[in-house]
Amino acid sequence: MNQLERPADAASPTRSPLGGERGKGQRFALQQPLPPGARPEAPLPDPSDWSFELIERYHDVIRAAAKRFGLDTYPNQLEVITAEQMMDAYASVGMPVNYRHWSYGKEFIANEKSYRRGQMGLAYEIVINSDPCISYLMEENTTAMQALVIAHAAYGHNSFFKGNYLFRLWTDASSIIDYLIYARNYIAECEERHGVEPVEDLLDSCHALQNYGVDRYRRPGKISLSEEKTRSAERQAYAQLQINDIWRTLPKRPDRIEEAADVKRFPAEPQENILYFFEKNAPLLEPWQREIVRIVRKVAQYFYPQRQTQVMNEGWATLWHHHLLNTLYDEGHLSDGVMIEWLKSHTNVIYQPPVGHRAYSGINPYALGFAMYTDIKRICEEPTAEDREWFPDLAGTPWLPALHEAMRNFKDESFIGQYLSPKLIRDFRLFSILDEESSEHLSVAAIHDTSGYRHVREALSRQYDLGAREPDIQVWNVNLRGDRSLTLRHTQHKSRPLSESAEEVLKHVARLWGFGVNLESVDGAGEITMRWQVPAPSH
């Protein structure tokens, strides 16, 4: 279906001799961009009002350019929508369909209000990791902005979704829309059958734990929708049998009593995927409730790679809209007016306010990502002595395969750890501040100098480690022989305590589990420093 599927064949005539030396088993073989086509007589027309015909013409030249740089994408589906529809999409976490929940309504109301008051511009684009890849073009955009969105979303993000290892491992682009439709219908059906409120309560509880419904290490198999449906039915029947087994209340046979005294831990090992644990083991959940837990878990899993590749993903898309549109301009496809217009929003998007600035709210992932990819290209093309020392494998090699390799095989954490160069640290004037509870002052741990580069790079890399951003909480133990209470264990990261909302979340945990719930917070030395307890919810 996809003509961009195999750039390698087309690339073979121009393969550079350097390409063979770089091993590491990368799949990407295009060493140089392919030569451009014939120069057009005149640039594409650039009226501010777009038309379908015009979008198609812009898309054609952008697609041709993307192909020359070996951007491998899912087929594209561009959808023109209104501002209201954009807000709808916003509210349901960017997905075209989703199940109903009050929190999406809250989101929608908040967005709508700030949009109407002009406090917030809408995003120019939303792109969905699906196959075909759906990109939304907003009706209000001008022709130039539509071209920018097509290059950014339909070729930048799209190729990232298809290429990055996390997305390849954890998500199945071809089935997500079908799955969401299934989820929406299933939950609507549950609402009809069991009432809106019990479903809402359950979803609230699941949402509170959705960051703990992700498999971090085990990779789920990909299955199709029909399989999913039949399996769901079987699973429900079977699971119910299994769970009851754990809670067997019949007396054991007398000769086994001694054995039983040697209490086995359950679960045998701590479980990180709390929602999965509940889906399989919570004693009081009905089959439909288990299925809803599963739906929330699956959706969370789908978004898991996105949360880990913010810098890389946005940076990649920004790099490519910048590079593709510039190339097209150089080759005479785009007019000056179009260039000036998109460059203006490009500049806004990659602006990084310094710390202390009114607009400062952390590091801008667009700015950092764009700068890093651009820097990789620079290191490949014009390495300095410093670059040769820091990146001996990278300096002087062809830039295109180097960029693709960086996009494919990393996540934010490892990407920064691998590629953040001293030059960028200087350009951004990055510095690291250490905040220790025990000391009265904050201290500057490292700045952009020779002794600080590695420290800053490590610190920034850790900052993007999801494991460090979210508290580590796992299912620790279940009191099988007593009150059936569940114990969760929080292992502190650098002795950081849990936030105040922990108690509220525990109430949700108790609702799912059906019995009492304990939470222990353990410091680096293995001592329990804090305990929370929530009794069983009344049934």
Binding site: S92, I109, Q352, Y360, I433, A445, D449, S451, R469
Partner: protein, 426 residues
């Protein structure tokens, strides 16, 4: 190759309506409280408006596990201007001033400010009606749009062929032909006159050439006049019709309330809801509604709305004073032939005991014959002589209704008969 552009603009707007509804349902209690407060603060006429609702952010947050303050954190920031390694910085005051540094602006901006959003007019009325326990049929009647009637309104230059006005179109065409041809025709007349003179004169070659030229010009002018179209699209006129709301009658609503010392704020609030409901009902049926506020203790007085609901007086109570004043105002300003008169009276039932009989007489003899409807609510439990006298009235007068209410939801039954009657008529 599979590449397509899909126009989704016409499909599926308002996908979030269902989610918004769920949100509103979830916070119904708070919303009702807010609507109640809004109703108290508004004038009767302003009742049909949306309202900004404030919800404390703590109430609507969704909890999740997160790191709290404390422990060791190391955050990388951009834009270092002054610091060297090992520098010490004072802790910024006010908690997480240094920001979380994780690229999420919302994270640190989570203050205690309220979550504010706008309740639309419809949603506001929905909650208001819920409070009053209005039955569904009544709601639809209250929410109904006025009936429209198509009405002739002159002519327009666009329309369907069926509405073509031949007379007007032809008249326009004549005018246009005259106007456009005027210059040419004048010229033609002049040339013809010249030609006639030339014809009279004796022939010679110069004259012949001149005559020939004149004849050419005349025939050119004739041809030009011929080319003026007999009927042109711009001549077409169509009969124009506009839609206008049918009820064009007017009503006046008298609000009578006892403001003696025994009417406290809570009772007045109940009374206000009663007046609002009647007002709303009337707005569905009449284009123009006047409101007259009469308050009374021993003496009655016409006041504005603000004073009506909020000023406080003390003293005894003579209900008939208000009825007399109402009658006077009717005679002076609202002839019953032109106006539909509605009366709404609220009191705690306390009255000077010799006065109640007089009230009944006044109503029966002078007021009720002029009124379309008169409703009385007593916002207190005990039945005093006024109640007893009125109870006798209710048996014989079909357009008189009375009720005791101690809660907002009890107000509606007063209107049940009223709505029923109107439901049959409309």
């Amino acid at each position: 190759m599979l590449q397509q552009i899909i126009d989704r603009r016409l499909a599926g707007k308002n996908k979030s309506i269902g989610n918004r509804e769920r949100f509103l349902r979830r916070y119904q209690k708070q919303l009702r409280e807010a609507v109640r407060r809004a109703v108290d603060g508004r004038g009767i006429r302003d009742i049909e408006k949306g309202e900004d609702i404030h919800l404390p952010r703590r109430d609507i947050s969704e909890p999740a596990f997160g790191h709290g303050q404390g422990g060791t954190r190391e955050i990388v920031h951009p834009g270092n201007q002054e610091y060297l390694r090992g520098d010490r910085i004072d802790r910024p005051k006010g908690g997480s001033g240094s920001g979380r540094g994780q690229g999420k602006a919302g994270d640190s901006g989570e203050g205690e400010d309220d979550f504010v959003f706008h309740l639309t007019k419809e949603e506001f009325m929905q909650i208001f009606f819920d409070d009053l326990a209005l039955p569904r049929l009544t709601r639809t009647q209250l929410a109904e749009t006025p009936e429209m009637k198509s009405h002739r309104a002159g002519f327009s230059n666009s329309g369907t062929p069926a509405n073509l006005s031949v007379l007007r179109s032809m008249r326009g065409a004549i005018g246009r032909r005259i106007a456009i041809g005027a210059g040419s025709r004048a010229q033609l007349g002049e040339l013809e006159r010249e030609l006639a003179e030339l014809v009279k004169a004796p022939p010679d070659p110069v004259q012949d050439a001149l005559r020939h030229e004149l004849e050419m010009r005349i025939s050119a002018l004739r041809a030009r006049l011929m080319r003026i179209p007999y009927l042109d699209p711009i001549d077409l006129r169509f009969r124009n019709r506009v839609r206008v709301p049918v009820p064009t009658t007017k009503a006046v609503m008298f609000c009578l309330m006892d403001v003696s010392g025994s009417m406290d704020e809570a009772r007045k609030e109940l009374a206000k809801r009663f007046f609002i409901l009647l007002y709303l009902f009337l707005t569905r049926h009449y284009d123009k509604i006047d409101l007259v506020f009469i308050r009374h203790h021993t003496q009655a007085q016409e006041v504005d709305e603000e004073n009506f609901f909020h000023a406080r007086e003390t003293g005894g109570t003579v209900v008939s004073s208000a009825l007399v004043l109402m009658d006077e105002i009717i005679s002076a300003r609202y002839p019953p032939g032109d106006w539909n008169i509605y009366g709404a009276q609220a009191s705690d039932g306390d009255n000077w005991h010799h006065d109640s009989g007089r009230c009944r007489e006044l109503l029966t003899e002078t007021l009720l014959p002029k009124c379309r409807y008169f409703a009385y609510v007593q916002v207190a439990e005990e039945e005093q002589n006024l109640w007893e006298e009125y109870a006798r009235l209710q048996e014989v007068q079909p357009h008189f209704a009375m009720r005791k209410v101690s809660e907002a939801s009890e107000i509606y039954p007063v209107f049940r008969d009223l709505f029923k009657a109107r439901g049959v008529n409309t």
